[in-house]
Amino acid sequence: MSGASTKLAPMPLRVLSSTRETADSMTLVLERPPGGSVGPGAPGQFNMLYPFGIGEAAISLSSDTADRFVHTIRGVGAVSDALGRLRPGDTLGVRGPFGNGWPMERARGRTLVLVAGGIGLAPLRPVIHAVLRDRSAYGKLFVFYGARSPRERLYVGELERWQAGGAMDLSVTVDFGDANWAGRVGFVTALLGHAQFDPAETLLMTCGPEVMMRAVANQMIGRGVAPGDVYVSLERNMKCAAGLCGHCQFGSIFICKDGPVFTYDRVEHLLRVREI
């Protein structure tokens, strides 16, 4: 299969497993396309997933496994709901992987601060996997994760392993606690404020609601992290995903082709725009 057809024509791929994460989100594991025709995909890249007859949605890779595509999808509309109904053995159309991904090369040797909100943990999870696999290549790893409530946390088993593992400093906070929750309650910025890191050494990657990313970026820049070391993933709606249709174009920037990951100084103005 040529690169071009991979990018514009969906490949039919089989669902190997579907696991419920929360009331409205699922993790799908897809088989890899045969014959090594498609690259493994890098942390921060995404596929266009097509439940047949419904429509396409951009969904990030949520694991860096080379032999599978793993995606976590939150049902918010027609396409994402249809993706959430897929079961093992079902087939869907897949194009990708697309996008530039997180700056894993620049991250080497640096202190990494990852801040995820809600479903925004999905595109950051491959970063965590990559760092854990090659731990000594990176400096300190701080992970801050804000969820709506304890029941709406993704990857709960994995969070517990990460917490116990000692390879990172993981802080989870929720907006609304419940009777069984003995963890933190509040917005992620409250936890971020106390993390001990050298701003000059630090690289931030954040993904979540844009309001959250703005608050996090501004706080980190306020602490002295260079705006060029602050990376955000812009997950605005897109169509072709190949920089052709212009649906996600803003000025000279195509979110799909040039992004979805940008340094904050390049896109700060976009984060104030309602729709592209």
Binding site: V76, T189, P209
Partner: protein, 153 residues
């Protein structure tokens, strides 16, 4: 053994405060420990002290009939607990409960207010430390109330 002034100087809230002022405010401070489950402050009670947390998690709660205690926010090591001691009528506006064993410095409010009134430069140095934290908490509380993660990505 370290003096109280030496100890409080190490708390990030007081970072950069002059030795003279550290000595001065240390005169209002004592070490306190709260066991898990115990209340550090209660809503409506006089705000007789303020705390600099050293370790352990604290939850700020309000009690609502039929719903019980609702956690508004949690605090931990290096946080400050309580601002109601600064403004009349000096009463707490929420409960604070120790979730874990909590160690803190407790400052007597009347003592501290007296020293701030007597030396406005000390008062200003402390307010410059309080205001950014209060502002950050207001902003964070607004974000929390937006229910951001409930909305789409």
């Amino acid at each position: 053994m370290k003096s109280m002034a030496d100890l409080i100087r190490e708390h990030p809230f007081l970072a950069g405060l002059s030795d003279e002022y550290c000595e001065l405010v240390a005169g209002c401070a004592k070490n306190v420990v709260f066991e898990p489950g115990s209340y550090i402050i209660r809503e409506g009670q006089p705000a007789g002290q303020f705390h600099l947390l050293r370790e352990g998690q604290v939850s700020l709660e309000v009690y609502a009939p039929r719903r019980g205690s609702i956690v508004l926010q949690t605090l931990g090591a290096n946080d400050i607990l309580g601002a109601s001691w600064i403004v009349p009528p000096y009463r707490w506006t929420s409960d604070a409960r120790a979730v874990e064993r909590v160690r803190a410095f407790a400052f007597d409010a009347t003592c501290l207010r007296g020293k701030c009134e007597a030396d406005p430069a000390l008062g200003y140095a402390l307010m410059k430390r309080f205001v950014p934290i209060i502002l950050q908490r207001v902003t964070a509380a607004r974000m929390q109330s937006l229910d951001l993660y409930g909305a789409s990505v």
